[in-house]
């Protein structure tokens, strides 16, 4: 227990030092370009999104294309609280120095965002997760769009004009704190007995049900956890860019996250991390060829599906026990 707390504190301290170093507050003048810092930070947010989506898509086998909707809920909820109550909340923590004070407020609003996203995940999950395969995909896409249109109509959060003036509470340090946390959380889940339940649901849902597994309950739980994490990612996103608009949370965003986990390998946490980082590296690297970027990604997606559907990592992890490669269920048939 003490050892864990010590490791935790060490990680937090390391992240703070790194952030101070990189943004030039520690050693003025020696800093990396704010642009590169922004890219790295956004990569961290992508990691959270990819890892959380992988929990539901890769490990539970439920194909959801509505992840951006939960990110939006997290973003808008947390931003709403910061914009309207940010200064009052800061006064509550006024005994703390500036950094931890803003951090405390950030944690509070992120929690609000995560709770809202989790509730949304529950409301979406319960009806949708009864459906299979393609239908689930379309329904989650539909819910994602409904969420977006719903937010678009709420004037209190700017509606169709977007929400601006969000205080910049999140930074490199916080984003990577949560990125690391999300990786830890998901790997804990996956390696537990609950995780084995999820894998059972993925491999053969009917058999799992026959074995006494509460498949619907398992699916909903992992869906809710995944949505909550997306909500946190959304909150971090909002407090980093200071302006959000529902245009950033369309299903094209959901598909971007899917590209990340497909690229990296849907059954692997390391794969999601690799996929997320690779995606943003390629995106920024190809900035010069901006128009060819998405065309390249789409080609890549098709080619991966045809030639290497398991992505870069397949089911393998970089650290930890290797999980057994899952077999593709084969349909018994006479090959004509």
């Amino acid at each position: 227990m003490i050892r864990r707390l010590a490791i935790f504190a060490a990680v937090v301290a390391a992240l703070w030092a790194l952030d101070a170093l990189l943004s030039g507050t520690l050693v003025p003048g020696m800093m990396i370009s704010p642009y590169v810092l922004q890219v790295i930070t956004l990569a961290g947010i992508n990691v959270i999104l990819a890892v959380s989506l992988n929990l539901i898509n890769g490990f539970t086998g439920q194909f959801s294309i509505g992840h951006a909707g939960f990110m939006a809920i997290g973003a808008y909820t947390s931003a709403f609280f910061s914009v309207n109550f940010g200064s009052s909340l800061e006064r509550v923590f006024r005994i703390l120095p500036e950094g931890p004070r803003r951090g405390a407020v950030l944690l509070l609003v992120l929690a609000a965002g995560a709770v809202a996203a989790a509730i949304a995940g529950f409301l979406v999950g319960v009806p949708s997760l009864r459906l299979r395969g393609d239908y689930l995909a379309i329904v989650t896409l539909g819910f994602g769009e409904i969420i977006r249109v719903f937010i678009l109509n709420i004037d209190a959060v700017g509606g169709a004009r977007g929400l601006g003036g969000i205080p910049k509470y999140s930074n490199f340090g916080w984003v990577y704190f949560f990125a690391i946390a999300s990786v830890v959380v998901v790997s804990r889940i996956v390696n537990s007995s609950f995780g084995r339940t999820l894998l059972a649901v993925r491999e053969d849902e009917i058999a799992a049900e026959a074995m006494g597994v509460h498949t619907t309950r398992a699916k909903v739980i992992s869906f809710v956890i995944s949505s909550a994490m997306a909500g946190i990612a959304g909150g971090l996103f909002a407090h980093y860019l200071m302006y959000i608009h529902t245009n950033s949370f369309t299903f094209l965003k959901s598909i971007e996250i899917i590209i990340m986990i497909v690229l990296g390998g849907m059954g692997s946490i390391t794969g999601s991390v690799v996929g997320a980082v690779l995606y943003i590296v390629l995106t920024e690297g190809l900035r010069a060829f901006e128009q060819y970027r998405m065309v390249t990604f789409s080609f890549l997606l098709i080619l991966i599906m045809i030639f290497r559907p398991q992505g870069l990592m397949g089911h393998r992890e970089l650290f930890g026990r290797k999980r057994r490669e899952a077999r593709q269920p084969s349909t018994p048939s006479i090959e004509a």
Binding site: I7, S33, P34, Q38, R161, G162, G164, I180, L241, S248
Partner: protein, 380 residues
């Protein structure tokens, strides 16, 4: 376990740090940033503004530059999207180290970018955003055009007094601040002038089918339909309204101003009106010279956005000259003190709210041309 992961992270970041370097502030030239919609739904807005400001800076550079140095204009495309405007401005400030920012035309996009400029203490001059909220963001944000409070009132006055109409319907774009704001002012003022708003419908920027809304409006029998939107939708709305048998004229704001308006709306636009910042027909020698120079350089007649882009660039340059420095705070002060600047779009004085007080020009669309109708002075 966690240590190894943190180690890997630090390693990656070290590599990233190695190839990322902080941009130096160039002292050999003055870098001005501009963000605009070069592509997307309102592409002509950004293109016209860019043409105008480029022409202005070209003239300045040919006359010896600003404070003895050449001016470099860096333009970023925001694809007609507010979230891209925020990203574009962040890049201009962080990566290109611009001293000041020009932009944007659309109020929504200006509102997305303004807090970023204000936070970074970089002066921002919007050539054509008319929503009052834009300059309220902070003391570094200026505009060189009139606000929608003026424009909406001018439109209402024109409809009520000049066209002598009593019943108006509203069809506005719920997606952008400009349209939402303008519609509120018009509705209020039109009622003050004795008119009545008989029906109201909305649409979203990017929509292409307005028949459902127009059908509802038609049943209220309006004498005029106020459409304070952007040219792409306005053209289509005009067409579809005629298809549905609505003969009432349409009235709108400066968002109509585009060389493509007639291409989209065609004959359906004949007899429709809109308010604007300037008229190509204005006989004033400064205007005619600008029109001739622009035509010579770009091959087509400049619209109001090009004229405002031109004026905004020149006012910014003038402020930098008066401040004798590119320091943000000094330029801001100089901008705030701009008085009686001779612009193509009129004589420009920046008031205490950082807005310009200028006359509104009413134009009529006829056979592909925008014909001058009347000029409505501020406060008249």
């Amino acid at each position: 376990m966690k240590m190894r992961r943190t180690g890997m992270l630090a390693l990656t970041l070290g590599v990233a740090a190695a190839f990322g370097c902080a941009p130096g502030r160039s002292s050999k030239e003055i870098v001005i940033g501009e963000y605009g919609s070069l592509t997307g739904n309102t592409a002509t807005f950004g293109q016209s503004t860019k043409n105008g400001s480029e022409m202005a800076f070209n003239e300045i550079n040919q006359a010896g530059g600003l404070l003895g140095k050449p001016v470099k204009l860096v333009v970023e495309d925001d694809q007609s999207k507010p979230e891209e405007a925020a990203t574009a401005v962040t890049k201009l400030i962080n990566q290109n180290a611009v001293q000041a920012v020009l932009g944007e035309v659309a109020s929504s996009r200006s509102l997305a970018a303004a807090p970023i400029c204000q936070g970074a203490k970089v002066p921002m001059v919007t050539p054509s955003s008319t929503n009052p909220k834009v300059t309220q963001v902070g003391d570094y944000i200026f505009r060189v055009c009139f606000t929608d409070i003026q424009q909406g009132e001018a439109d209402a006055k024109f409809a009520a007094k000049s066209l002598k109409l009593k019943k108006a319907a509203l069809l506005y774009d719920v997606r952008n601040d400009y349209s939402v704001g303008l519609r509120l002012v018009f509705a209020q003022k039109f009622k003050e002038y004795g008119g009545e708003i008989v029906a109201e419908q909305s649409y979203s920027e990017g929509d292409s089918d307005f028949r459902a809304q127009l059908t509802q409006l038609k049943s209220a029998n309006p004498e005029v339909i106020y459409v304070p939107g952007y040219y792409t939708e306005v053209g289509t709305i005009a067409r579809q309204s005629r298809d549905l048998g609505i003969s009432a004229p349409l009235l709108g704001g400066d968002g109509w101003d585009s060389p493509r308006l007639w291409e989209i709306g065609g004959k359906a636009l004949n007899g429709c009106y809109f308010s604007n910042h300037y008229s190509v027909d204005d006989p004033a020698p400064a205007v005619q010279k600008f029109v001739a120079d622009y035509k010579g350089k770009y091959g087509n007649t400049p619209d109001a956005l090009a004229a405002l882009g031109y004026d905004a660039a020149r006012i910014l340059a003038d402020a930098i000259k008066r401040a004798n420095s590119t320091d943000g705070a000094k330029v801001r002060d100089a901008l705030a003190q701009t008085k009686d600047f001779a612009g193509v779009t009129g004589t420009i004085t920046i008031d205490k709210d950082r807005n310009a007080v200028k006359p509104v020009v009413m134009l009529k669309v006829q056979d592909g041309k925008f014909v001058f109708q009347e000029r409505i002075e501020p406060g008249a």
